[in-house]
């Protein structure tokens, strides 16, 4: 099973889609790859959740995981 990567808000607008599939990697590798492909991402603070939990620092992302990438939240 591939890794599902979900995008929300400003990040979805930059990437131009709400979801893509990729292979296993570390979270920092994934962010680096995405930032190279979608350079405007570099100007945003990016938060990462793996399987619907916030992560701190670099973590391994395994096949079947659901990763979400988004900017600081602004609900309320």
């Amino acid at each position: 099973m591939p890794v599902r990567v979900l995008f929300f808000g400003a990040i979805a607008d930059i990437v131009g889609k709400r979801e893509l599939e990729t292979g296993s990697a570390s979270s920092s590798q994934l962010l680096e790859t995405l930032t190279q492909e979608y350079t405007p991402l570099a100007s945003h603070k990016l938060l990462v959740a793996v399987n619907q939990e916030y992560i701190n620092g670099d973590v391994a992302i395994n096949n079947g995981d659901e990763v979400a990438i988004f900017t600081p939240v602004s609900g309320g």
């Binding site: 808000g9 600081p72 939240v73 609900g75």
Partner: protein, 139 residues
């Protein structure tokens, strides 16, 4: 009974407030958060709220669990609306029932502050001449 929900429909504030009321309580504090017309002198036309639904519900439930350990409260209800919201429409309702009002006020304030910090929901402000996703810092 505690509850947290997302909806694209208008929120009935009174029904949220009444659903948290148990017999042992004496006060419910309810926050009605709604869409403001002016932010830093710029006129908002409407807002679009977007949510990462599954994670947002999990984070709201965590807040409810944490509120129970921090405050002397009985029940908490949180309902957040998503989609397009017009000026003055309710975007979020938080109701906290407690035996005594002080804990309910404190818990309600803590819950909205944490919700705005942790629950994965974003708003896009649409104004005359443009639109932009709101930064956490100026929401």
């Amino acid at each position: 009974m505690d509850f947290c929900e997302l909806t694209t429909e208008p929120i009935d504030i009174t029904s949220v407030a009444r659903r948290v009321v148990p017999p042992e309580c004496g006060a419910t504090v309810t926050l009605d958060g709604y869409v403001r017309k002016f932010t830093r002198e710029r006129e908002t036309l409407y807002l679009i709220y977007e949510s990462y639904d599954e994670m947002a519900l999990k984070e709201m439930q965590k807040l409810i669990d944490d509120a129970h350990s921090k405050f002397e409260i009985s029940n908490v209800g949180i309902v957040h609306r998503t989609g397009r919201l017009e000026i003055a429409e309710t975007s979020v309702v938080i109701s906290v029932a407690a035996p005594h009002r002080k804990a309910a006020f404190e818990a309600c304030e803590w819950l909205i502050a944490e919700l705005k910090r942790t629950v994965p929901i974003w708003k896009k402000e649409v104004y005359a001449g443009g639109e932009e996703w709101v930064d956490q810092e100026n929401s």
